[in-house]
């Protein structure tokens, strides 16, 4: 194996992938995942009304199905990732195989990255397996591929972020149960905490009349939950929640595409003036301050990447502390 190949190749990922896919649990998760997406897609399509009408009506159905699928995928990701990642390193510790692993030439950073990558690869596998269902959206139209990619990217980033938090708890916990519980609690705090804090600050009238403000997307139709240009810090805080970031982006995409009813599926683009009742969009962009002009999802993406890097770094440090390392600069040993 070349030097580059040895650097990239991680035996932990290969082992985890192999053993995980042999478990009945993996098959059960895959079944539940696809069943949930399938059922939701059918229900959303059915609830969208007349399916035999024009492409604009179909486009509206596409938006509805898209909204529902994104909600289900994000919810399933939030449910699955802490459980999959939280027990990974802690499980090795419980099985007492962690020391055996650290006795080899595998370095702690490789263990952390390998464990995280292996768990996220399974999530990626689930997403790939659900492509036939997700392609229904493209078939119906109403949502551009670029929009789908942004939302999928945000979903993946959220999985990485929650996975990174979970791998940290897995590295510092004594057993998998504690690690998984802590991972779920952290995920819940990340999801709800910024929303609650931002809402509280808004209710207190914090920052009104200056600082950072928000603007509504062009497709805004019905009354917003947050009036435009009334707050400063709260939207920034709320943007740190994956629910808000993905939700605002989905609502923005849906309302824009509903308003203009742009059909951008397989058949190309068709303009139309038809307007359907789309979900209300709260905000999607920071309108002032140092992050003026940033999309909410962009703020979230930067935060998520920073949080992930911090958690992974701390997990590596925690794992390094498990076994001794050279006290002095490494010298030649024959």
């Amino acid at each position: 194996m070349t030097r580059m190949g040895a650097l990239v190749w991680n035996p932990i990922v290969a082992r985890e992938a192999r053993t995980r896919m042999r478990s009945k649990r993996a098959a059960f998760i895959l079944f539940c995942w696809l069943a949930a997406l399938g059922v939701v897609a059918i229900l959303a399509y059915a609830s969208a009304g007349n399916q035999s009408a024009s492409v604009t009506v179909l486009a509206h159905s596409g938006v509805t199905v898209f909204d529902a699928l994104v909600a289900v995928v994000v919810a399933l990701l939030l449910l699955l990732v802490p459980g999959l990642v939280g027990g990974s390193i802690a499980g090795e510790r419980e099985r007492q195989t962690l020391d055996l692993l650290l006795c080899t030439r595998v370095r702690p950073w490789r263990v952390v990255i390998g464990k995280l990558a292996a768990s996220l690869a399974f999530i990626g596998f689930l997403l790939v397996a659900s492509l036939p269902i997700l392609s229904v959206v493209a078939l119906l139209g109403g949502i551009a591929w670029s929009d789908i990619l942004i939302v999928v990217g945000l979903g993946a980033l959220t999985a990485v972020t929650i996975g990174s938090m979970s791998i940290l708890f897995s590295a510092i916990s004594k057993g998998p149960t504690g690690a998984i519980v802590c991972s779920y609690v952290a995920m819940f705090i990340l999801l709800v905490g910024p929303l609650v804090l931002g809402t509280y600050l808004l209710a207190q009238g914090f920052g009104s009349g200056g600082g950072t403000a928000v603007s509504l997307p062009s497709g805004y139709i019905s009354g917003p939950a947050i009036a435009p240009s009334v707050s400063s810090a709260p939207p920034l805080i709320m943007a740190l929640s994956p629910g808000v970031a993905i939700g605002s982006e989905v609502a923005s995409i849906s309302s824009q595409n509903c308003a203009s009813a742009v059909y951008s599926g397989f058949g190309g683009s068709f303009g139309s003036s038809a307007i359907y009742s789309c979900a209300a969009v709260t905000f999607d962009r920071i309108d002032s301050g140092p992050l003026n002009g940033w999309h909410i999802w962009q703020v979230y993406a930067v935060f998520a990447i920073a949080l992930s890097a911090l958690c992974i770094g701390m997990a590596i440090v925690a794992l390094r502390g498990r076994v001794p390392w050279p006290r002095r600069a490494h010298s030649e040993v024959t």
């Binding site: 055996l100 006795c103 076994v323 050279p326």
Partner: protein, 310 residues
């Protein structure tokens, strides 16, 4: 060579090791004897480069465990007192995984795994799921894993623990084979008969201290004298009278149904004692050496039996 000098290790308030010093020659099979909690595993983990001593120094194969723990980890085959296996893997996959972790070239891994399975006596179990292996087989598979980097030193923590008699015999044979291959081994156990049969030298550890170390002959103190317990049928005082004046005898202590006799070392002493008894018409029912087993040595150096120490 493996050395430990004034090793100490504290876990909070508790001292797992306190001023533990020892020296193990290259190629030796060193039995680390001691009750549970004496510090055997702590000593082995320090030697494996997995634990930092609070104070003291140690070296393995000439490498300092304090300054180069990573190098030590790669030169030592560490077999803990648990199996450390993964489910849903075959034995071949298990060894292949660890060989990859040791960065063995992929082209060599298949052959290496087959050779190791052959060495540990499991050539026909290559494609058996690990969870389907017996306890003894898992133990041997773990030994095969420890041998993957071809380490000069093997550290085996309670390898015979939980094994059935047949598996113990197989393990003992395997240790002998590895000894013949020139491996230096440290084997910890509190099952002394097992160690007595597989080790060339011993170290007795109690309450975190190495209280005695050497070969069995050195430890039993039998260089110039030994003790025999002779069970007799009939009057022990008659037996004692019969032994009076035997030149090889040093001291005599009558007991209930037996006499204990301190004699000069050597087979001729035992022979002379027996001849004297038989000449006096004393019926001898049993002759056993006293204080020459590991258990006796442990009792002598620690002042209590192994079971009470545990």
């Amino acid at each position: 060579m493996i050395t430990g000098t004034h090793l100490a290790r504290a876990f909070g308030e508790r001292m797992a090791l306190a001023d533990c010093s020892f020296q193990i020659d290259t190629g030796a099979v060193f039995g680390l004897v001691g009750p549970n909690g004496a510090g055997k595993t702590t000593t082995l983990r320090i030697l494996a480069g997995l634990l930092q001593p609070t104070s003291g120094t140690a070296s393995v194969d000439g490498v300092d465990v304090l300054t180069h723990p990573q190098v030590v980890r790669e030169r030592v085959g560490w077999m803990p007192d648990f199996f450390g296996v993964y489910d849903r893997m075959t034995a071949r996959e298990y060894l292949t995984f660890y060989a990859s972790c040791y960065r063995i070239p992929r082209a060599r891994i298949g052959r290496l795994a087959a050779d190791l399975m052959d060495l540990v006596g499991l050539p026909d179990r290559m494609d058996t799921p690990v969870e389907a292996l017996s306890r003894g087989m898992k133990q041997r598979l773990c030994l095969a894993r420890a041998l993957i980097p071809d380490p000069p030193v093997l550290l085996l923590d309670e390898p015979a623990s939980g094994l059935d008699p047949r598996a113990r015999v197989e393990l003992r044979e395997l240790v002998r084979e590895l000894h013949n291959m020139g491996k230096t081994m440290v084997v910890s156990s509190h099952i002394l008969p097992e160690l007595a049969e597989m080790c060339t030298s011993f170290g007795f550890i109690d309450a975190g201290r190495m209280v005695a170390q050497g070969t069995l002959e050195e430890l039993t103190g039998g260089r110039d004298r030994s003790t025999l317990r002779i069970n007799v049928a009939g009057d022990v005082h008659a037996a004692a009278a019969a032994l009076d004046g035997v030149p090889q005898m040093i001291a005599l202590r009558p007991g209930e149904g037996f006499v204990e006799v301190d004699v000069h070392a050597g087979a001729e002493a035992t022979s002379a004692i027996l001849q004297a008894l038989l000449a006096a018409g004393i019926t001898v029912t049993a002759v056993n050496p006293v204080g020459s087993s590991l258990e006796d040595v442990f009792l002598r150096v620690t002042g209590q039996p192994l079971e009470q120490s545990a």
